[in-house]
Amino acid sequence: MKKNKLNSYNSQYFLAYILIAPAVIYLLCIVGWPLIETFRLSFTNSSIAGEDYVGFENYEKLLSSSKFSKIAIRTFVWTFFSVLLKLIIGMIGAVLLNASLRGRSFFRILVLPPWVVPIAIGALGWMWVYNGHFGILSGIGIRLGILDGPFSFLAYKNSAFIATMVTDIWVGVPFVTLFFLAGMQAIPRDLYEAAYCDGAGRFSRWYHITLPQLTPVIITMSLISAVSTFVSFDIIYILTEGGPRGATTTLIIDTYKMALGNYKFGKGSARAVMIVIMISTFAIAYFYLLSRINKKVSHG
């Protein structure tokens, strides 16, 4: 009798669907439909004036243009190094904040502001840091004799590329640090104590215990960071608007400018679809890899 009662408690599909329906319907309207509409628009020459079906023309132009492949490669390079450094600095940060030092709980709060503050405002602060005449970086550089005069970091191709990346890393580091730290705290202490008794040093304990135990968190964070970095918009838009001479134009900036700067919705949509395809391919490959790793772990 009791069993029946429990089953009936947990098996009301109808109620379950009613409860998720509002959220699902809302997302279908605001995310689902726009996604399909983006695909449809990408086969048209839609603009403010109107639209006509043009087949694969947008894609053909896009894929044959050397400018687009250049932008795509640039986006990948930007994303790769940004994510890599987020993970490395995040790991260093987590190790530091995990050390049993005085002031630890204070440090753990102090790391969060870049994540909490709107990116647009953080980027404004960096804009000032990078300023050639009035920024602190240039100021220190001149004092130390590294620079012989004011240097505007956002005005030159290579330095602007690196500067936008550094700001993106800055935005991402607190989040990564936080998750690595939480992961470290979940590792059983006796593992470390056993290793200590066996004479393992600090680095060896980190390498043989922390790193393998953290692997699932590291993998999760690299996916989350990679996806959000790939479509990172605010930072570049505020710092350089994709300049100087296109040196920091990533796929998302290019898409935005095409669609809402020039009001070429069709061409912009084709670019947006390319981004969706790239992210999806990446995520699928990633989950495939993940499931293989999991299999290996459970069999080994």
Binding site: V31, W33, F107, G122, F179
Partner: protein, 279 residues
């Protein structure tokens, strides 16, 4: 376990210092710039200290941009509205995911994560058309409607983890005693999950506050509705850019969020990381 030796301790503190110089540099620079008189700000080469620093910009900024207070209000108003509606959508959905088994459950949870991947920027064109069709461009709703959508997925994941922690036996006992589903949701689940709902609300608020920039520059061109992040551009005048006041306004604009966050950070951090670390 082994204690830190003195040199190691010094090394650790030095590393922490370097780490935090990186984390706090733009904030310090912003604060510093906000204290400088406008003439001084353009003094080159860079000066690390001078004796004419003042809080003058914090007073003057309200005159330079008369709508500044309005912008800050807009930011809060929109973020709070987004949070409210997000909770309205998310509480029943998260409860359903935590308690019921139904076809497509796991699949739809992954689809929710995928929504997170397509950030607003990818979908701007159809969103623009959608908002134009419903005549919502240049209103508060132009920023609120898409804002809610992108807060929903993560919020569902967050809150689901909380609901799962509440023992199902409690509900079954009430159910056997004849309580209705709605009674259970409002009398048992809601009070027990208040901390979880609070964490979700704060998360949604922070995200809503942060993501305003893109929607504001794309879907709104009316000054009265601008959030602070796009209102800051008003300090860029025809004659000169009042950098010190712009920086002061930025600091004032983010300060309340920062304070709220610092008081509640423990719960947010625990709530956010709990799910990810477990899996």
């Amino acid at each position: 376990m082994d204690k830190y030796s003195l040199p190691l301790k010094i090394f650790l503190y030095l590393s922490i210092t370097v780490f935090f110089i990186f984390i706090l540099l733009p904030f310090v620079e912003m604060f510093y710039a906000s204290l400088r008189p406008l003439k001084h700000i353009f003094r080159s080469p860079y000066q690390f200290y001078s004796d004419d620093l003042s809080f003058w910009a914090y007073r003057e900024m309200w005159n330079t941009v008369p709508l500044l207070g309005r912008y800050i209000f807009n930011s809060f108003f929109m973020a709070i509205t987004v949070t409210f509606f997000t909770l309205l959508f998310v509480i029943p959905a998260a409860y359903s995911y935590a308690r019921f088994n139904f076809p497509f459950k796991q699949g739809s949870l992954w689809v929710l994560l995928a929504v997170n991947m397509f950030s607003g920027a990818v979908l701007l064109i159809p969103l623009f058309k959608l908002l134009r069709y419903f005549d919502l461009l240049n209103t508060y709703f132009a920023m609120i409607v898409p804002g809610i959508a992108f807060c929903i997925p993560t919020s569902i994941w967050l809150l689901k983890a909380y609901f799962e922690k509440i023992p199902v036996e409690l509900e079954e006992a009430a159910y056997c005693d004849g309580a209705s589903r709605m009674d259970i949701l409002f009398r048992i689940i809601a009070p027990l999950s208040t901390p979880g709902i609070a964490v979700t609300a704060i998360y949604a608020f922070i995200q809503a506050y942060a993501q305003q920039f893109l929607f504001a520059i794309t879907f709104n061109s009316i000054r009265e509705y601008m959030p602070i992040v796009s209102g800051l551009t008003e300090f860029i005048g025809y004659q000169s850019v009042k950098w010190n006041e712009m920086m002061a306004a930025s600091i004032v604009g983010v300060f309340p969020v920062l304070i709220v966050f610092i008081f509640l950070q423990k719960y947010i951090v625990e709530g956010l990381t709990a799910g990810a670390v477990k899996n």
